[in-house]
């Protein structure tokens, strides 16, 4: 009897264990399925919104081709910009090879930026680019071909034949060179012609060609090294050459508990960047002492008259932004940065990419609008504290502007009014934090 009882008990425990582990597996599996479904649903929404977004874009461009009214065109362009932006967001969330969608991404990004550019021109009653009509019809052609290729995808999506989350597994397992197993990977092919878009805005074609505006004679590696050593009073070793926006010579410095790297542009031997990785101790200098160090360094660069236009503080360092000043006009495109360590005043960083790219001999225009007239264009409620003339980099052009610092409802702003035509070119917000000021 006892033995039977024990066997029954053992059996019951075994059954119980089996049942509980089974139900646990079922529970975990149902959770997994639910998560997979949630993910798939997000992907489905992305892909459907991307498809309808592209269809809306095609529709709106076709209307843009025919409309004869500026206000209607502006509305269409604004709609296009936001559809393009949403489509970009949705497309870039799909688990596809970057190479499989990069041309479509570029198309919608450029369309977004170009639409804003044209919309602004129309709103300001400015002349449109000569090739505007031609460009719009090319954009239409491109969009139609993309949608043509997309139609197969949209059919399969409609019939729920594509499991997008499966693609994300393929993407991970096959790393870079995975072939997409279905139509999604074939949307981009050679039959689609993408127009070349050159305009004043972000994402314009030709921006990749970011080479210095001034042709400066090349220096030798030795000359570059010598200049660097004089500037920093340290002995550097060559690390080779690098290509890119600014073809450069690389150098490094290895001290006792200090390591630094620098790139010097071949053209002109100008310092491209410098970074020291020394651990920085507690601050012993205040901001004005640090600024003095930065100004001494800036003077050694021989970049003419420069002044600190902005500063930012973090990790016991202050970064001073310098801009050249010519005839009392601040040249913002040529800004460069000097980073000062607050423990001993050493220059621990320099960034001169913008200076090397943008610096050139400029014919500074005379302001057409005087300061008082420009000030009158600023919102009347703003309490203006300071003003100065500057060259502001706006998208792909430089504009002579009056720059006003002012406050409204306790918030600080910088307002830019064109000194040529009096239009408001931009507004920045300044936020003061414990670590300095931030421009937004």
């Amino acid at each position: 009897m006892k033995k039977i009882k024990r066997t029954t008990a053992m059996l019951m425990i075994a059954v119980l264990l089996l049942a509980s582990s089974c139900s646990y597996i079922i529970y975990v599996d149902s959770q997994r399925k639910q998560l997979a479904l949630n993910l798939e649903n997000i992907y489905q929404r992305c892909i459907i919104e991307a498809i309808t977004g592209l269809q809306n874009i095609e529709m709106d461009i076709s209307k843009l081709l025919i409309t004869n009214d500026n206000m209607a065109a502006v509305q269409l362009l604004n709609g296009l910009a936001s559809s393009a932006d949403a489509t970009q967001t949705n497309l870039s969330q799909l688990p596809l090879q970057h190479t499989a969608i990069q041309n479509t991404l570029k198309f919608v990004n450029q369309l977004n930026s170009y639409s804003k550019f044209i919309s602004e021109k129309l709103t300001r009653n400015e002349a449109l680019p000569e090739d505007y009509k031609q460009t719009v019809s090319e954009l239409y052609q491109t969009c139609t071909s993309i949608n043509g290729e997309m139609s197969e995808v949209s059919d399969e999506i409609a019939m729920h034949k594509i499991n997008v989350s499966q693609l994300s597994l393929n993407l991970k397992n096959n790393a870079q060179n995975a072939q997409l197993p279905n139509v999604l990977g074939n949307v981009e092919n050679d039959t689609i012609k993408y127009p070349t878009l050159i305009f004043d805005g972000p994402f314009s074609d030709g921006q990749e060609d970011n080479t210095p505006k001034t042709v400066r004679p090349d220096v030798t590696n030795e000359d570059a090294q010598k200049a660097l050593e004089i500037l920093f009073q340290k002995t550097f070793a060559s690390t080779g050459e690098m290509s890119g926006d600014i073809a450069s010579f690389g150098f490094k410095y290895e001290g006792k508990d200090d390591f630094a790297q620098a790139d010097v542009a071949k053209a002109g031997g100008l310092l491209n960047w410098y970074l020291s990785t020394r651990a920085i101790g507690d601050a012993t200098l205040d901001a004005s002492q640090a600024q003095q160090k930065a100004e001494e360094f800036s003077a050694r660069l021989n970049y003419g008259t420069t002044k600190v236009v902005w500063k930012e503080q973090y990790d016991n360092t202050i970064i001073f932004n310098f801009a050249p000043v010519i005839d009392d006009v601040v040249i913002y495109p040529d800004v460069f940065k000097v980073k000062v360590a607050l423990d001993n005043g050493e220059i621990v960083g320099f960034e001169g990419h913008s200076y090397i790219i943008n610096n050139h001999i400029r014919e500074l225009p005379k302001p057409v609008i005087n300061m008082e007239d420009a000030k009158a264009k600023v919102n009347k409620d703003v309490a203006i504290e300071t003003n100065r003339l500057c060259i502001a980099p706006l998208d792909n052009k430089e504009v002579l502007c009056w720059e006003f610092y002012g406050k409204l409802n306790e918030l600080s702003y910088v307002i830019y009014i064109s000194a040529i035509d009096g239009t408001e070119q931009g507004v920045l917000r300044i936020i003061t934090t414990e670590t300095g000021e931030m421009i937004l």
Partner: protein, 214 residues
Amino acid sequence: MKKIVSIMLIVCLCLLYSSSAQAIVLRKGSNGQDVKNVQQKLHDLGYYWGAIDGIYGSQTETSVRYFQKAYGLTVDGVVGPQTLNALGLQPSSGTTPSSSDVYLLARVIYGEARGEPYVGKVAIGAVILNRVKSPLFPNTIAGVIYQPGAFTVVSDGQINLTPDADCIKAARDSMAGWDPTNGCLFYYNPRTATSQWMLSKPISVTIGNHVFCR
């Protein structure tokens, strides 16, 4: 011609970000009015005795941990939406919008390049920011980082590790405009890379174990 002075870059990035509401997260290294509010509240509740100075240091972190433990929250010393809610606080509108970008960037840098030289860390941040500026990629920092398959550390979850101070510093330097890659959009480790497409690209510069190309 790309004529983006770093001021303008910061402006663009911040404009992109200010348009989307972001969940506020405070952690060691954060500062500002929100931190002050948290400190004041923790002080009122008897969890914090330090200065109400708006600087999230070790003392604030310890207090947050005590509070989280007492309220049955995940004890991580980080003030996220749940902890903020438990404290009965709403985020103020005047916070530094880009501090969360810096932290996100630092997390990727930590995952991708924690064993790399400092300049190599700044370079990873620079590549991400170069992608934000390129029409071939998404237009926000989070968009670029979370583009499926773009970064190994995102795919395998390493992005969720806590970055060290060096990586946060590198993220800040790249945000401030330092670009040791000279405008590169891609990088790989030549010892582990398998993509023929990637390997076929001309190399701009080698930093540590990474090769950078455009």
